[in-house]
């Protein structure tokens, strides 16, 4: 296992190269745009600007403004348009600049995209991909820092991916685009420069397959998105304290790889869920409830949650830093849970 501090999790592939998560997303889009003429990207400032995070740089140059479209500031409209295109043979990728703006597309996603296949008795389908962000500590304050993945994961008919590494981000995004269902992909905006190895050759990753990012014996840290790095850093620290932590990354919240998660806790007997959404009624609650139910007879201690405080994200750095789980807070939680002084 690598040192988490490099933020690179090597994979055991022949012929790998190191790229950033932004690049991984860019490559996934470019490859799928190249592969399937039905794929297009629509969003605000996605073309020449390549998004404010510069994640899409170069795409409009290669694929032209008819396949990489700058849209008006109309999140609901763009998503609805993407859905209609998806229902009629295309594979749109809708870019919602900040995850905080999913507030504006909940009707299009939850009432429309998620339900179209079911309501039509299977006759219509909506192969729509929505890319958006999550994550705080960017000093962007309450309306540009939220991690709202729990809302989407609560809607049957949607799939939800929360990749943590360039490898996962690329592989899952490609699969999302090819999937015949609406998939919402959340990328932590603080992670775009995070580096990691990806294979040189093309690959995809299945939705619904968790990965053990680090093996351990004493406690399982189930961590999502950038919290995987927090968990890995905590695990490194725990190792120094004589505690062996396993880090499990669900990679997709829907479908959820319950077997891998529960299996890990059945082995370790202890679990902490680390997620950057607000604690109450968040994704961490589902993961904790699942573990508490399915691994009940193996648990040596209650399942703990490390999640964002139940407060709007404040601007001031000294306040914002209090709101998110850190390697230190997870370390302390784990130490207490395992009962080592």
């Amino acid at each position: 296992m690598s040192t988490p501090s490099t933020r690179a999790l090597p994979k055991q592939h022949e012929g790998t190269r190191e790229i950033s998560l932004a690049q991984a997303v860019n490559e996934a889009l470019a490859e799928e745009l190249r592969r399937d003429p039905m794929v297009f990207v629509v969003g605000e400032d996605v073309a020449e600007a390549g998004t404010p995070f510069k994640v899409l740089s170069g795409l409009v140059e290669e694929f032209g403004p008819e396949r990489v479209l700058d849209a008006p500031i109309s999140e609901a409209g763009i998503t609805g348009l993407g859905l209609g295109a998806a229902m009629t043979g295309m594979r749109p990728v809708v870019d919602i600049m900040f995850g905080d703006f999913v507030t504006l597309v909940m009707d299009q996603l939850a009432n429309q995209a998620a339900k179209v296949h079911y309501m039509s008795g299977g006759n219509l389908r909506a192969p729509l991909t929505v890319r958006t962000t999550l994550g705080a500590t960017r000093r962007s304050a309450a309306q540009h820092s939220q991690s709202l993945h729990a809302w989407l994961a609560h809607v049957p008919g949607l799939k939800v991916a929360v990749p943590a590494t360039p490898y996962d981000a690329k592989g899952l995004l490609k699969t999302a685009i090819r999937d015949d269902n609406p998939v919402v992909v959340f990328e932590d905006k603080m992670m775009y420069s995070t580096k990691g190895l990806v294979p040189n050759e093309e690959y995809t990753l299945p939705l619904g397959s968790a990965e053990v990012k680090r093996e351990g014996e004493d406690v399982t840290l189930v961590a999502t998105s950038s919290m995987v790095y927090v968990a890995l850093d905590a695990a490194a620290e725990l190792e120094r304290a004589g505690i062996s932590a396993e880090v499990v990354d669900p990679r997709t919240l829907v479908p959820l790889d319950r077997a891998t998660i529960v299996g890990s806790v059945q082995k370790t007997g202890r679990a902490i869920v680390v997620d950057e959404g607000h604690r109450s009624y968040g994704a961490s609650a589902e993961l904790a409830a699942l573990i508490a139910e399915d691994a009940f007879w193996h648990l040596d201690a209650p399942v703990r949650r490390a999640a964002a405080l139940d407060v709007p994200v404040p601007f001031s750095p000294v306040l914002e830093d209090e709101t998110v789980p850190t390697a230190e807070s997870v370390f302390e939680l784990a130490k207490a849970l395992v009962g080592k002084p």
């Binding site: 008006p72 109309s74 209609g84 295309m90 299009q108 429309q112 039509s120 799939k159």
Partner: protein, 329 residues
């Protein structure tokens, strides 16, 4: 089917006029039966009857190809039939039966008929405006020459998303026709209490050509629709038709006492402008059909409807285990 021309007719032939009559009558009779089914507690949930508004759906859909798209509303039976759906599968859907268009999963407010380009009724007011606009985007991108028609009531003028997508339709010159079914009521509230300014100014604000049409005159609707469809198909961009019409019944089948929101007098005045009668009179006047011929059409339809309803009532419900199917494709 009368409603499946394979090329857009540009002129109203006698044959087409007769087909339109039959189609309007079919919708009328279908819905009268729906009302009966509800009143006799044989139909679950609610239904929003289209009776009185038939000329809009039939006039517009007669200008469409089979593979053109439509999106529909909570008041969607007329659109669905006019686009070519089978009566029996519709009855089955309204009754929650396995043989319904959506295997009973959609019901009245969600019937979709992908075989005829009907992308679905929608129970969110304004909820299908994005879908229709996206279908038009798709048609343009795929260069198929298809158009998309977005039906909605004037109540949808209250939904912001309509303006968001009209803006894009205009910017990108998408082949979408917004058909506003102006029946003057948002549920139990007169539209003048909910709608500032002129309806026509709304699409105009986005540079979309607008036309006001007598929605009780199927020939007028057809003409306007043909113009809009032709322009859209040939790359001329979106259009907006405001069709003035009236729902003869309540907002839904259970809305019987309407006195508090609209007068009997108003209802009667509109009933005098029955779209089926207006076309019938014209057909007779023009010598295209005589009354007895039309009566025969009506009788045949009555029989067709009765048989379809009976079959649907007899049809089996889905297996309860199907509840878990079709969540994901």
């Amino acid at each position: 089917m009368a409603t499946e021309p394979t090329t857009t007719p540009q002129t109203l032939t006698s044959e087409l006029a007769l087909q339109m009559y039959e189609q309007m009558r079919r919708i009328r009779s279908f819905e009268e039966r729906v009302n009966d089914l509800y009143r006799s507690a044989k139909m679950p949930g609610l239904a929003h009857l289209y009776i009185g508004e038939e000329a809009v759906a039939v006039g517009v859909c007669s200008a469409l190809h089979r593979d053109d798209y439509i999106t529909s509303t909570h008041r969607g039976h007329g659109h669905c039939l006019a686009k070519g759906a089978s009566i029996e599968r519709m009855f089955c859907e309204l009754l929650g039966k396995e043989a319904g268009y959506c295997h009973g999963k959609g019901g009245s407010m969600h019937i979709a008929d992908h075989e005829h380009g009907n992308l679905g009724a929608n129970a969110i007011v304004g909820g299908s405006t994005g879908i229709a606009t996206g279908a038009a985007f798709s048609a343009k991108s795929r260069r198929t020459g298809q158009v998309a028609v977005c039906f909605f009531g004037e109540g949808a003028l209250g939904q912001g998303v309509l303006y968001e997508v009209m803006n894009m339709a205009s910017l990108w010159q998408l082949p979408v026709i917004y058909v506003c079914e102006q029946n003057f009521y948002n549920e139990y509230t007169h539209y003048s209490e909910t709608t500032a300014g002129e309806v026509a100014a709304r699409p105009a604000a986005f540079g979309i050509p607008e036309e006001e049409v007598d929605g009780q005159d199927v020939r007028a609707v057809f003409d306007a629709a043909c113009r809009a469809v032709e322009r859209a198909r040939s790359g001329g961009g979106p259009a907006f038709l405001t069709c003035a019409t009236y729902r003869f019944h309540g907002h839904h089948v259970g809305d019987i006492d309407r006195g508090y929101y609209r007068s009997k007098d108003e209802e009667e005045q509109w009933r005098r402008r029955d779209p089926v009668e207006i076309l019938a009179a014209w057909l007779v006047d023009r010598g295209i059909a005589d009354r007895s011929k039309l009566e025969r059409v009506d009788e045949n339809l009555a029989a067709e409807i009765a048989a379809a309803a009976d079959a649907a009532l007899e049809a089996p419900y889905p297996d309860p285990r199907e509840v878990n199917e079709h969540v994901y494709a």
